[in-house]
Assembly symmetry: C2
Amino acid sequence: MSHSPGTVPGISGRTRLFAVLGDPVRQVRAPELLNPVFAELGLDAVLVPVQASAAHLGEVVRGLQRAGNVDGLLVTVPHKAAARAFADVRSPAVELAGGTNALRRGADGRWYAENFDGAGFVAGLTAAGHPPAGKRVTLVGAGGAGGAIAAALVLAGVARLDIVDVDQSRVRTLLTRLSAHAQGRVHGGELPPEAPTDLVVNATPLGLRPDDPLPFDPSQLAPGTVVADIIMTPRETRLLRSATAHGLPIHHGEHMLTQQLHLYREFFALHPAEAAISARPGLPDSAGPVPPA
Amino acid sequence: MSHSPGTVPGISGRTRLFAVLGDPVRQVRAPELLNPVFAELGLDAVLVPVQASAAHLGEVVRGLQRAGNVDGLLVTVPHKAAARAFADVRSPAVELAGGTNALRRGADGRWYAENFDGAGFVAGLTAAGHPPAGKRVTLVGAGGAGGAIAAALVLAGVARLDIVDVDQSRVRTLLTRLSAHAQGRVHGGELPPEAPTDLVVNATPLGLRPDDPLPFDPSQLAPGTVVADIIMTPRETRLLRSATAHGLPIHHGEHMLTQQLHLYREFFALHPAEAAISARPGLPDSAGPVPPA
């Protein structure tokens, strides 16, 4: 990597743009994490935060897509579901998860939507020695992140997926979306799990705050059940500490992030950034040389 | 300045955005010139290039203006005239020049348009010891840059301004726009100037290419007449070399740029970037923690 963390290469008129859309957007970590990746890939590109309210999301996204040097958009809360509408092509993970967190302009000019939340989680499990294929999994939380993880687990070939949420309507919606691909493998679940399970995943926000209740009680799980969290901060959530205290193997939230970086890297590296828009050389028009803009 | 040239401070979710709009946009120098100024001012802000075609200018600008963390837009060819439509408030220089090259979001949420092309030129003249107030000036070129310079010269109080262009309709349009403020001081001119003149300005693109003809012949000017060019590259245009050869004082194009940087600096420093959009703290919604976007 040719640049120290915290800086990005100089931006010139030739620099390609990526934006991360959210509301709020102040908390996003993507610019700090991905700008060094662009530098490492040798891409003259920069990722900037763009605050877009739900009311104005369409105008903001369409405006960015109309800009000739914008090559991709990352999407975070609360826009992941709505952003699907701005893609011409959606991956199976997007269709199944019901949301997208990455759109890029293809060499053909069309916009492709991906969802790396679930794939990042599955890749993290696999890298940590817990590949989910053929396993029985209980997923707690059927919101945006839970939906993405459920979709990725189905695509990864879990034997059975039980989905639990205090909001039964969210469970039903997710089951309906997954059913065509899940071939009877996906069910509404209960806590503690009725059937033996290999892995229980927390995909709720519970654990972000020190005084949050546990999303489920690890002490009621069978020995050997892996307890996974998607919360990254704090690293050792109350859930993971409790699971460890009961002798259960655990899987930290940070793996999902680490693996997503790899996926983003591939997604953006695939894109022929400089080639997408042909150069238009020529002198300025009669308005003359107009410094410095 | 805390950053070396060619780098900008790390971009985070809190970074405020400025964009420079043009078509093409590859040649713009604003990001390289102004990002170090932001750093020097201690602003957590970044200026990025945005390529917008004339057909999509409205969508691109409105999209950027709808983004909560976009604080300003610079505008270059061919959009300076059209961009006026996206401002709520236009400075006298914008109205007179018929174009804007800088828009910013005010603390009141309205968009303010400025035009620094002419003001930069006048400030450059003044800094170089040629203040135009009370002087007789001949301006060659009534395009975008010429219009901006004409407006600034009128506002700076020239005694008389003669405007020359091969396109007589552009001269008439500019005279009409200036007439209300010029009180009989502005006229269509001829080359060589009929009346004695203190300063002759090239505001045409002639001189950008080595084989361009001279925009006018300095050998026909009276001794002591200042010959000014707005072309920056090459620094020593054929016109300036010819004027020097005839013993006339000259004024380089680069002064316009240097002084515009000061004006931009003031324009952006005035803006309470961090205060404009209040922080919206809070936990992510039920979609959970969603790294890294």
